[in-house]
């Protein structure tokens, strides 16, 4: 009889929960950003709470991975039963959704008292259509454990690196990484090379623009070849466990590496955890300048979204200068409106903001944007990883691989109908 009691209890539990699970009406905001526990808590507990207080609109914030989000949004569009009102995602993801005609144009939403940074504004218009409202921006920088300054190569000072000056070059990085390996016995420079890491961004947005001035346009050129020859040398001083790291904050905190490159959101935990130990520095420069990526995160509205007015109000709230400063202060994503830029937060994130500001205000900047390739975006990034694997790790013929990859890249841009950059 005990069995039946257990089954009875289970059934009771189910009914209690189903009664409890019936929900109050609100708008749904799905996002691939602000997932980490601390950030999500800030979003739900601070931002959306104060928005609800101000507007009377309750927002359910849902953390979905990109695949889940795309499946959900596509299915909703197909059935016409759209429940999601606002989407927060990276530029690249929104680009794909726009190419599948899932998003409505977001022109003419009332967004008073703010001026969006012009590059981001321009970037959010894809094929003549305003796809999203720029929400936040981020970039990739380097983090140095202060201990690593002991191993700086001759002629390069801390100030050169922090500022950054012309002396902070990829050659200097090579020498620095070499010194660290020789003096500590193990490589101390790390890159997030795991499949989920963002190493491909380093290749197409940092290395190649620094050597050639472009991400793909000058791929097959003398300087392009030099970039890969450089990687062949650098790889000897990269920590071998790099191929298992998706984010660099953990190896930095555990002291496995003293110098690393990664996305600001992925190194932030290290800085917040031990602000006295780390410094954020700009990336080095190459023969063509200091190449780096600016990542845009946007807010979009699905076609046929319910409660559009409420969605617009949420977009207005999230892009307001005061909200953007709060986000920088707590999360470390940078503002997209001019009124909020240049504000340096207090606390640990000050370190992050300083490094990023130094990078973005360096006069030799070569800004790279992740290209709008729609569904070809994955193939684009894969190409860089493949070349790295073949040329650097498997020592295949450099010129042959580079020429083949350059052709492929060109065809991807052509197929996507985007000018090569």
């Amino acid at each position: 009889m005990k069995k039946f009691a257990v089954i009875g209890l289970m059934v009771l539990l189910v009914f209690v929960v189903s009664a409890y699970a019936v929900s109050a009406p609100k708008i749904y905001f799905v996002s691939t950003q602000m997932h980490p526990a601390g950030e999500r808590e800030f979003m739900v507990g601070t931002l959306l709470k104060s928005f609800a207080k101000e507007s009377g609109i309750n927002v359910e914030f849902l953390a979905l991975t990109y695949n889940e989000m795309l499946s959900r949004v596509s299915a909703e569009e197909k059935t016409g039963k759209v429940t999601i009102s606002v989407i927060g995602d990276l530029h690249g993801g929104l680009d794909v959704m726009a190419s599948r005609n899932l998003l409505q144009e977001v022109k003419g939403i009332p967004l008073p008292n703010r001026t969006f940074i012009s590059t981001l504004e321009k970037y959010s218009v894809i094929k003549g259509k305003k796809v999203y409202v720029p929400w936040m921006q981020a970039t990739y920088v380097m983090v140095v454990n202060k201990e690593a300054y002991k191993y700086l190569p001759n002629g390069l000072t801390k100030e050169d690196v922090r500022k950054p000056t012309e002396k902070w070059t990829y050659e200097a990085l090579l020498q620095w990484a070499k010194n660290m390996k020789e003096k500590t016995g193990t490589p101390k420079f790390g890159l997030p090379m795991a499949p989920k890491g963002l190493f491909h961004r380093f290749l197409h947005g940092y290395l190649l623009p620094s050597f050639t001035g472009y991400e793909a346009k000058e791929f097959d050129s003398p300087n392009g070849i030099k970039a890969w020859e450089y990687m062949r040398k650098l790889v000897n001083y990269i920590h071998p466990a790099s191929s298992t790291w998706a984010a660099m904050s953990e190896p930095l905190l555990k002291g496995e590496v003293l110098l690393a490159w990664d996305h600001t959101a992925r190194i932030k935990p290290a800085i917040v955890q031990q602000p006295d130990k780390f410094e954020v520095i700009p990336v080095p420069r190459g023969p063509a300048g200091r190449g780096y990526i600016v990542v845009a995160v946007g807010l979009a509205v699905p076609k046929k979204a319910p409660q559009k007015e409420a969605a617009y109000k949420l977009i207005d709230y999230l892009t307001r200068p005061s909200t953007q400063v709060l986000v920088l202060q707590h999360v470390g994503f940078f503002p997209t409106v001019k009124e909020a830029t240049g504000k340096i937060p207090t606390g640990a994130l000050r370190i992050l903001a300083r490094g990023v500001t130094a990078q973005s205000s360096s006069p030799d900047s070569v800004i790279a944007m992740i290209p709008n390739l729609g569904k070809y975006g994955g193939e684009f990034t894969n190409t860089y990883r493949k070349v790295f694997k073949k040329v650097v790790l498997q020592k295949a013929s450099l010129q042959k691989e580079v020429s083949a990859a350059a052709k492929l890249l060109k065809s991807l841009f052509e197929k996507a109908g985007t000018p090569i950059q």
Partner: protein, 269 residues
């Protein structure tokens, strides 16, 4: 005598090592889940010295993992209930009766597992939306039942095959009806195997992320609610999420274990 002693010592040693093998990760998950972040990253000690409930509180209350746990539990319970209601009779029929196309049927049952859920997800979601169960408990339960059912059918059919038909026949001779013979004789004998397939069904439903994530917005199951957050958070949050995910499953298995003599019903006789 000596030989006996060595034998029992060896048994203890091996059993101890196996337990250690399984318990060490659980112990480490628990310790790291409640360690302060400072201690967690301190390379000087393996076992943290200071503990905190703050990670747990954030995930469980602020980010509603608690609510999601309840939903996950009810989804798993309903999945077991539904898949047993459908799967046990099917398994019984497959093991007791000879009929045309039996083997084909067995294979067809498995064929639903040929397609990854990823591919089925969007059509499934579209159908669910059209019939209006896309954001409900029952929607996830149906999806999970579909996923679990083939296993329940196959496992229970081999369990019933292990229960000697002579017992049932004897019961019929002594005057029990067909259904009574099943409930009084066959079912109790098959209980260990059924417990095993219940555990199996529970774990499959409990761990499923993708379908649960896209089918629901409001009533999200535990992995849908916190998995992506945990994976993007610092390591100690991953352990906290792991702890929240593991404990209810362990408790369930602990209770179901009493009925579990052996999977596949081998030791029934």
């Amino acid at each position: 005598m000596d030989k006996e002693k060595i034998k029992s010592l060896l048994t203890f040693l091996i059993a101890g090592m196996i337990s250690l093998w399984f318990l060490t990760p659980i112990i480490f998950i628990t310790l790291s889940a409640f360690a302060t972040s400072k201690d967690y990253y301190n390379p000087n000690y393996i076992i943290p010295r200071h503990y905190t409930f703050s990670h747990f509180y954030k995930l469980f209350f602020t980010l509603s993992a608690g609510h999601a746990t309840l939903i996950s539990l009810s989804v798993a319970a309903l999945t077991i209930l539904l898949s047993f209601l459908l799967g046990v009779p099917a398994g019984y029929a497959l093991s007791r009766y000879k009929f045309k196309g039996k083997n084909t049927l067995k294979l067809t049952v498995l064929s639903t597992r040929m397609f990854p859920l990823m591919i089925l997800a969007i059509p499934l979601l579209i159908i669910f939306m059209q019939i209006g169960i896309s954001d409900t408990l029952w929607g996830i339960v149906l999806a999970h039942t579909t996923m679990v059912l083939p296993f329940v059918i196959l496992i229970t059919s081999s369990i019933f095959a292990g229960v000697d038909i002579a017992f049932e026949e004897a019961a019929l001779i002594f005057g029990l009806s067909r259904s009574k013979a099943f409930f009084k004789i066959t079912l109790p004998l098959a209980l260990p195997g059924l417990a095993a397939s219940a555990i199996f069904a529970f774990i499959m439903s409990w761990n499923e992320v993708f379908v649960a994530s896209i089918l629901t917005l409001q009533n999200r199951t535990l992995p849908a609610q916190i998995l992506s957050t945990a994976m993007d958070s610092p390591d100690y949050y991953k352990f906290t999420a792991g702890f929240i995910m593991a404990v209810p499953a362990l408790v369930f298995i602990f209770f179901a274990r009493r009925y579990l003599v052996s999977l596949w019903g081998i030791s029934l006789k």
